[in-house]
């Protein structure tokens, strides 16, 4: 499945939240999400295609996601395979036994609104200004979401978070193992 989403950086979360509420969007989540990213560190193909496995604790749900960045300049540039798992600890151990390595532990706060079939995620990442992620099942709907909020499509960003850190904010995270609100090392 392709991930159809666009980021808008440095938004005012309060203003966006108010606008979404006024549009009738429903606030469905406000949680700290903990991610663990695993990679085949010695596999150059993984590095080249930005392949990674993410284990996510999202409220009461645990998920495994495989991501591969195909093209960061377009919407839907990331292939994403995602399913729920019942035991995050066991899954983590299995990945390690299969030869993957823990690349990074990261956390973020997500405030999610839903309007029809469009997801609006206000995201708060350590060391970054708040950003908005708009996600839906088609580019037209993502564009529609941006338009509803009066956002200029020219400002849409399609990078993954690593590139946002490194290329936009000039914060290298390649060797950062813990990227949380209280630790950056």
């Amino acid at each position: 499945m392709r991930e159809i989403e666009a980021h808008f950086l440095e938004v005012d979360p309060e203003a966006v939240g108010q606008k979404l509420s006024a549009l009738g969007a429903k606030k469905v989540q406000d949680e700290i999400i903990i991610d663990r990213i695993y990679e085949h560190l010695s596999d150059s193909d993984w590095h080249k295609h930005k392949k990674r496995v993410r284990l996510r604790q999202d409220g009461k749900k645990s998920q495994i996601t495989f991501k591969e960045l195909k093209d960061f300049n377009v919407l839907g540039g990331t292939e994403e395979l995602e399913t729920e798992i019942s035991d995050l600890k066991a899954m983590e151990q299995i990945l390690l036994y299969l030869g993957l390595s823990l690349k990074r532990r990261a956390e973020k706060r997500r405030v999610r609104y839903i309007l029809n079939t469009i997801k609006f995620d206000l995201e708060f990442w350590p060391k970054l200004k708040p950003l908005l992620e708009i996600e839906s099942d088609s580019e037209d709907k993502v564009r529609e979401g941006a338009k509803l909020l009066g956002l200029n499509w020219e400002n849409a960003n399609f990078m993954d978070m690593k590139d946002i850190y490194e290329k936009i904010y000039n914060i290298p995270i390649e060797n950062i193992k813990i990227l949380t609100f209280d630790k950056f090392e």
Binding site: F66, E68, L81, T83, E84, I85, Y97
Partner: protein, 194 residues
């Protein structure tokens, strides 16, 4: 998450008689069903090293399991392994993820099972395609296991310390079947002389 599995597997000839024995001894029927397993290999010696990566489709759940022999496993009659498992929401997506991790399906294996609880131990009857009927009892208490086996007219020495995948590989070799023969009831049916 369970990290250690000790089990005994014994080939049985008269499953009905043994089932009746379990029931007569107060065994409580728990469930029966079918399981379809896919075992994966990385083509770099993963499977040959007796490591198991298995995605199981059962009647109600999908389960991903990793197993490997314990380094100190010395028993000829018990299968002692480290086991990690988690339920998985979407079978097809997990299969795709595993393939992206560099693994390919190596063996398909089908099994019918019937589970009982006897003296606090999980007693399972398995019918595996091509291989026939087995009783499997999982425990960490070997003395308790010996007592239950004794009540059933079985003993520790009858235990087979190989998994079904290995047993089926041996079966294929003995019967000149191609290595990639699916261990399914359909394939078994097809292989019977007309």
């Amino acid at each position: 998450m369970k990290d250690k599995e000790i089990e005994i597997k014994i080939k049985i000839d008269d499953r009905d008689a043994l089932t009746k024995k379990v029931e007569a001894l107060g065994g409580i029927f728990k469930e029966r069903g079918n399981e379809m397993d896919v075992l994966y290999d990385d083509g770099k010696g993963f499977y040959d090293a007796h490591k198991v990566l298995r995605l199981r489709k059962a009647d109600k759940t999908n389960v991903l399991t990793y197993k490997e022999k314990l380094p100190k496993s010395t028993s000829f009659n018990l299968l002692e392994r480290m086991e990690l498992q988690t339920e998985v929401g979407d079978y097809q997506i997990m299969d795709d993820i595993i393939k992206h991790l560099g693994f390919v399906p190596y063996r398909i294996k089908e099994k019918k099972y019937e589970d009982y609880l006897l003296d606090g131990l999980k007693v399972e009857f398995h019918t595996v395609a091509f291989l026939g009927d087995f009783i499997e009892i999982e425990t960490e208490d070997i003395n308790k296991l010996k007592i239950v086996l004794g009540k059933l007219g079985l003993n520790l020495e009858q235990g087979i310390n190989r998994d079904y995948g290995t047993l089926f590989s041996e079966y294929c070799e003995q019967h000149n079947l191609p290595k990639d023969t699916p261990c399914t009831f359909e394939a078994e049916q097809r292989s019977l002389p007309h």
